[in-house]
Symmetry: C2
Subunit: 538 residues, 2 copies
Amino acid sequence: MMGLMMDRPLLTTDILKHAVRNYAHVPIVTRTVEGATHRYTIADAGKRIAQLANALKKAGVKRGDRIGVIGWNTYRQFEMYYAVGGLGAVLHTVNPRLGPENATFVINHAEDAYLFYDTTFAPLVGAMRPHLKTVKDFVVLADEAGAGEAAKGAKLYEDFIAGEAETIDWPEFDENTAVTMCYTSGTTGDPKGVVYSHRALVLQAFASGLPSALGLTEGDVFLPVVPMFHVNAWNTPYTCLLTGVTQIFPGPRLDGEGLYELFESEKVTYSAGVPTVWLGLLQYLEKTGKKLTTLKAGLCGGSALPESLIRGFEKYGVMLVQGWGMTEMAPVGTVGKLSPQLEKLPLDDRIQYQLLAGRPIPYVDMRIVGEDGAELPHDGESDGNLQVRGPSIVKEYYKATEPTLTEDGWFDTGDVAIIHPNGFLQITDRSKDVIKTGGEWVSSIDIENAAMLHPGVAQAGVIGVHHPRWQERPLLIVVKKEGADPSAQEIIEFVKPKLDKIAWPDAVEFVEAIPLGATGKVLKTELRKMFKDYELAS
Amino acid sequence: MMGLMMDRPLLTTDILKHAVRNYAHVPIVTRTVEGATHRYTIADAGKRIAQLANALKKAGVKRGDRIGVIGWNTYRQFEMYYAVGGLGAVLHTVNPRLGPENATFVINHAEDAYLFYDTTFAPLVGAMRPHLKTVKDFVVLADEAGAGEAAKGAKLYEDFIAGEAETIDWPEFDENTAVTMCYTSGTTGDPKGVVYSHRALVLQAFASGLPSALGLTEGDVFLPVVPMFHVNAWNTPYTCLLTGVTQIFPGPRLDGEGLYELFESEKVTYSAGVPTVWLGLLQYLEKTGKKLTTLKAGLCGGSALPESLIRGFEKYGVMLVQGWGMTEMAPVGTVGKLSPQLEKLPLDDRIQYQLLAGRPIPYVDMRIVGEDGAELPHDGESDGNLQVRGPSIVKEYYKATEPTLTEDGWFDTGDVAIIHPNGFLQITDRSKDVIKTGGEWVSSIDIENAAMLHPGVAQAGVIGVHHPRWQERPLLIVVKKEGADPSAQEIIEFVKPKLDKIAWPDAVEFVEAIPLGATGKVLKTELRKMFKDYELAS
């Protein structure tokens, strides 16, 4: 027997309409690429989104067309999210950190009909342009004054939308229609495309808007450092409109000082970013002795949150929690928001929860399976391959030639994890990125986190290197903090009490910089190349 | 172009699974029908829900079968919500206040295969039993000791589930499958059935779980006074599991004293009920001088929230806000949760917002239309017929013979409303001619028809007038027949056997003439003006 409820689709347009009706006055603030501050309200945004949609229609954009964008977090890219998706076209957000070769690959693979970009990326676009096969037109996200040289051979965004009607009768269509797409930054092989549906992103916005996840509401001021050019800035452009939250878009200046100034001037209460970003902010605070006066909490994801960062921010009254997700998960899988009871615990107890990856948001189903494929208990001890299932998780990559899922329909995350009886997830390692020493697994993440607690360590990466006796042993690679000069032995002695003996690194190597991927993660593949022929003494 | 996300259905079972995994330890407490307190956790509930589902399967319950229940808010009815729906069968919650005739009608109309009931309702079930055409078996929501006399001719719930497995492999099916159904208490004619889908209730749980609506989280303690026997207790059995909120089920004792004791002993932080319930609690507080030490806020719906109630509870540190909805809306339409900025206003300013019906939750689309069908602006001035649209709103009544929606697919609520530019809804009148008393609908036409049967009555009109306890009660206005001189008491006694007790008019007033409209209908608007300041004794 079927229910007798209206057949109304879950479209992102309805999030916009909801916000315009209920949160018309809520501000959206951007520190623009040019440096000036741009302010408007959700009501204003609604009008310009309609203008952009009308302009796109006039330009011949049809349902299903892909529109590429390479941009910073600004109000203009925000407008593109709603306008392009609202028409039933697909916004393809391109990660500039992919580099010209991979960025060209993804734009050709997605067959983008238009390419919008911030002036910053004019050189990148210039390099790609001869190789782009499907792009009919280029649009710079600027007005004439802002565009400068970048305007050459491209339209200007402000000209493009100028004079268009500020209202539009949004079309309605199947909620499974694509709305945005994004390519994984890839570890091996070509980047793979993930195509998000309206349904998937609306459900993500609901789930991550709950008090158990972001839990933000009208009056909260959120600054997304996570980029809109990758995995939809963790879906926050949708979640924030659904819940009436003020958004502060930081544009390109994401260094500690740049963020600090904006956090203070705009009274930011909540932020989200990868550990590298939080680290930059912390170092700025420590260097300058400045305080954060409005920020209360932050979400850290993309890679494991080091204990030193949590403790560092506690001194500034900011509670960092972890999130975990993937491009393939639209992207939020877990959020480490603590219950009010856990929040009240003394730091040394509470931090045990903050060091975990959080609990799954609703409609993200998780299981861990052993090498034999059997499901393992959520007992806080067993660890296995983490697999996920849900309405906001990829079923197949764009133009996939081989199956994306397991035979029984789960997505294998490539992470190795423990699930605790209270639901908390603990990522112990990457399945393809673990150290096996004398038959035992060692978590490189644990060693990295331990090393990051040392006051002289700015960044740490651990890989397995060949060992004549143990096959593989951990090598700790360190970037020193500015002005600090710890010795290898000092760091090893420092981490020993924090680790099982089997995990004590055999050696420490110092480097100027650790290669990071497009999303800020330590690129283990690059580290391995750098230390390919490294030999430990027996 | 379609998205490439997994085709995973939105089933209520996944809310249960989510809660068992993440909120296993969260308590569910019931003051039972017998009076004792029953305590268990979400993990325990999960096991008993599986047992009930296994028992139902064994009893031959198939997908689509309707299972009737007449019960108080207790853990057993809560278990039925998830077990019956989880199997793909349909829980038909029967409102005992319908009275035997209408309750028999709805059970026969829904073709319930089983009827579960609390011992309280054994006399009602006994009266209906000879007339029930489809019920194969009866189950009392009790064990042997608790059932007593009510066990006659019925199974016992605890025997029914005893010995069944505590786990179950929940089936998966289309998210548009029916999960619960509920009949409107009716205005004119027979009650109408509304059939909720899994999708509709999951979306309601998400939307009403947001910080902008209920906004409750783990650690909050919620006591639903709103009954599970009508409109799914405002969907809270789903919303609370989605967000890990502790539930306190009050059983049958809903008077001021009974609620006060439970609020205090269980440290309730939030509650929801109709104005009559809140009034009973307030009167108890005022009479006894007792204080509420844990309750912070409450949701009031079902009919307009009087200013006196808001101000009354302010003295006890409790902020009441309004909700508005309908059986046909699954049922939440708006929630008056104030933003942190509005919450900070002085009471005299803040109360202006609390007196409004709140703002729509996401995916409840609203419009107001004039008599000519044209849409009116949301300007805080224009009032018109309030029409709604969304994925959790009825598209047609069960076995409907005529269209339920407008030609362009909206549901006309029967309310007349203003919508303010900030999104707040203000209900100004009802276009349908009904009286809402203590949260229940009474048809004025039924009373008029009964009165017109009296030989001394020439004409009769009924309107709702203010009542200190029930907000509104029926006043019967009569034009005597020439030469006849019936007394008020005589007419009241005359109509009583023809009406449900709830519809007995509180008073009769005699007039020379009743204003009639062009088509001969009593002009209620004029009658309301004539008796604008009429006051009933309490």
